[in-house]
């Protein structure tokens, strides 16, 4: 029947592939620092000193931003920058205040002078340093109101880190300057550094990437979308009358349900393998990392199979309870989106508010996603995923039981 229904084929097989390619490409470029993905930002330099020069150079070096300091050959003013950003033409403007370099230097000299004089070391210098009060300087950031909080936080943290480094460097330089040329130079490299230890398979480090996060998440989402055609077909069977034939022949209802389940499981698995094939073979041609399924395919298939069970159970329940396609299609799609949202497909569960994290644990998509991540990113064994796949199967049994009981009750007069 499916081969005669092009619409059905597109919904079941083509749409998930388009979805997974589009989402992975978008997500990948969000994190990737490639030259063609640079974000243009405005820099208003009212300082024109050493500090602002260093900020400019650091921003340019970051490979994330293209720094624009002039529009139509004219240096940008704060008002122009503010207007452009608030209208959404640019996502960010950085305003460096006047005399930042000079005032920072003065402030550092004052502080260093004070410290050294306490040690009786700077008689000659302390006299040279003006002791006037130096006002705090503010580097202003303007953000396009449409940018996401995560982008804002990342930029603010980077700018803060950059300024701190410049300050630290200046402090070291001031000490060195005050203590004389013959003093050994301070090492300015950070003493504490961070190193991410990633999981290893054998001696090979497995570095997680957007593909490994996205493919399982959106594969699961596509598997659950089977709820819609399945429930619609069940309602069609009721309205066409084929339901009557299926329930008046000697084949037990359990076998009819079993037949449906097996058929739709086959569709789920075809969907799954198609999406994996796209991620393994097509993604590298689109500039994305290939999905690494080495040694994981069997366990991934098991997770997909049990996720399929859960999705089919839900589809059968909706198809049993709904009276019309107009009820089942919007409900099925909306409910799937809700399960995906609370299950962590879009936003990781750890980033959700605490009460939502509890709710997330009740989403079968969350169980499936965790099992996929266990297999793909945490290199779990079959034993490790037993709790998740058991929950998925229990969800299937529960939904099927409710559907059968509801159907039985409905067919009593």
């Amino acid at each position: 029947m499916l081969k005669r229904d092009m619409g059905g084929v597109i919904i079941l097989f083509i749409m998930p592939l388009v979805l997974i390619i589009a989402v992975t490409l978008i997500q990948d470029s969000t994190f990737k620092t490639v030259s063609d993905a640079k974000i243009p930002i405005l820099l208003v330099n009212n300082d024109n000193g050493k500090v602002s020069q260093e900020v400019y150079q650091n921003l340019e070096k970051s490979e994330v931003f293209t720094v624009i300091t002039k529009i139509d050959g004219q240096a940008i003013t704060e008002i122009q920058a503010k207007e452009a950003v608030f209208k959404g033409k640019y996502q960010l403007a950085i305003i460096i205040p006047q005399n930042l370099s000079a005032d920072l230097q003065s402030k550092i000299d004052q502080n260093v002078g004070k410290i050294l004089s306490n040690f009786g070391l700077t008689d000659t210098l302390s006299g040279k340093i003006p002791q006037k009060a130096i006002a705090q300087k503010e580097v202003k950031l303007y953000f396009d109101p449409a940018v996401q909080m995560s982008f804002k936080n990342a930029v603010m943290s980077s700018v803060d880190k950059m300024i701190s480094q410049i300050e630290t460097k200046s402090i070291y330089a001031a000490f060195q300057d005050q203590l004389g040329e013959d003093t050994a130079a301070f090492e300015q490299e950070s003493f504490i550094t961070f190193k991410e230890i990633v999981p290893k398979v054998g001696n090979k480090e497995i570095i997680p990437n957007s593909v490994q996060h996205n493919v399982p998440a959106w594969t699961l989402f596509a598997i659950f979308f089977i709820v819609i055609p399945l429930s619609i077909n069940m309602i069609k069977e009721k309205s066409q009358g084929t339901f009557v034939r299926l329930h008046t022949n000697p084949v037990p209802n359990v076998i009819v349900m079993g037949g449906k389940t097996i058929m739709y499981l086959i569709i789920c698995m075809i969907q799954f393998y198609m999406m994996v094939a796209v991620a393994v073979f097509l993604f590298p041609h689109l500039g994305l990392p290939a999905l690494n399924v080495e040694g994981n395919l069997v366990l991934m298939s098991i997770v997909a199979l049990f996720s399929g069970f859960a999705a089919i159970g839900l589809g059968i329940l909706i198809g049993t309870v709904a009276k019309t396609q107009e009820q089942s299609a919007p409900f099925g799609s909306t409910f799937t989106i809700i399960l995906a949202a609370i299950g962590g497909v879009w936003v990781p569960v750890f980033a959700m508010p605490e009460f939502m994290q509890h709710i997330a644990k009740s989403s079968p998509m969350n169980w499936g996603l965790n099992a996929f991540y266990d297999v793909l990113l945490r290199h779990a064994s079959i034993i490790d995923i037993v709790p998740e796949i058991s929950l998925l199967f229990l969800f299937f049994l529960l939904t099927i039981t409710i559907a059968l009981l509801y159907d039985k009750k409905k067919r009593t007069v």
């Binding site: 309205s239 066409q240 009358g241 034939r245 008046t248």
Partner: protein, 232 residues
């Protein structure tokens, strides 16, 4: 819809039993119960001495059902539909294929066997619908308005075929709004309304016993009244 009340009825082997009544009288409810589609909250019935609670599969093997709707998959061909539904009664292989071809021939649809149901006219769908219900030679056949919405030719073909099946020993329980068709086709008739049975006899006896009745329609109006049965 009225639930059935104080309803006692026996249908004997070889009868063509007509259940007649206005819309919402309870005909489809009664047939649905007898087919095992819905369960009565009280009362009981047996088919060949068997009950659904104890012999569900055995009963379903000996009954055939032809629902009011075209209970067919529209994107499948006539042959594919019949092969599928026939296989559910244990028919398979050569036997199944022969059964399909034989019935398609008998109802004049053999040349359309490999066309999709969605391309069929109402009359053609009705005939395929009928074949799907009798592929396994049931002892008892339930027909819920088998000729509704079809042209005269298709109706004649369907009724002639049903008469032949009955002559071969098949018992038929049938509902219809075509009273002249029922008068001609049925050996026994029960007139029901508002979930109750108003009369039960042969068509000739019903006409004879009703004052001034010349045909079944007069009997029907005399028993169920002229009041419109609009209900939602």
């Amino acid at each position: 819809m009225f639930s059935l009340t104080d309803f006692t009825l026996s249908v004997f082997e070889g009868q063509v039993f007509g259940l007649l009544g206005p819309n919402g009288a309870g005909k489809t409810t009664l047939i649905s119960m007898l087919c095992g589609l819905i369960k009565p909250t009280s009362g009981h019935f047996t088919i060949n001495g068997l009950t659904y609670s104890e012999n569900d599969t055995e009963i379903k093997k000996i009954i055939g059902v032809v629902p009011q709707e075209y209970a067919l998959y529209p994107t499948l061909t006539a042959r594919e539909n019949l092969m599928y539904f026939g296989s559910m009664y244990g028919l398979k292989g050569k036997q199944l294929k022969e059964k399909v071809d034989e019935n398609l021939h008998l109802l004049g649809l053999f040349k359309f066997a490999d066309k999709r149901i969605e391309t069929f006219s109402g009359g053609m769908k009705r005939r395929i619908n009928l074949i799907a219900g009798i592929m396994h030679n049931p002892q008892l056949l339930f027909l819920d308005e088998p000729t509704v919405g079809v042209d005269v030719q298709s109706r004649n073909a369907i009724i002639s075929y049903l008469k032949k099946l009955n002559e071969d020993g098949m018992t038929i329980i049938y509902t219809s709004h075509h009273l002249s068709e029922a008068e001609d086709f049925c050996t026994d008739i029960a007139i029901i309304d508002r979930g109750r049975m108003y009369a039960h006899a042969t068509p000739a006896d019903l006409i004879a016993k009703t004052h001034n009745a010349r045909n079944l329609e007069d009997v029907f109006i005399a028993l169920t009244g002229k009041e419109l049965r609009d209900d939602i």
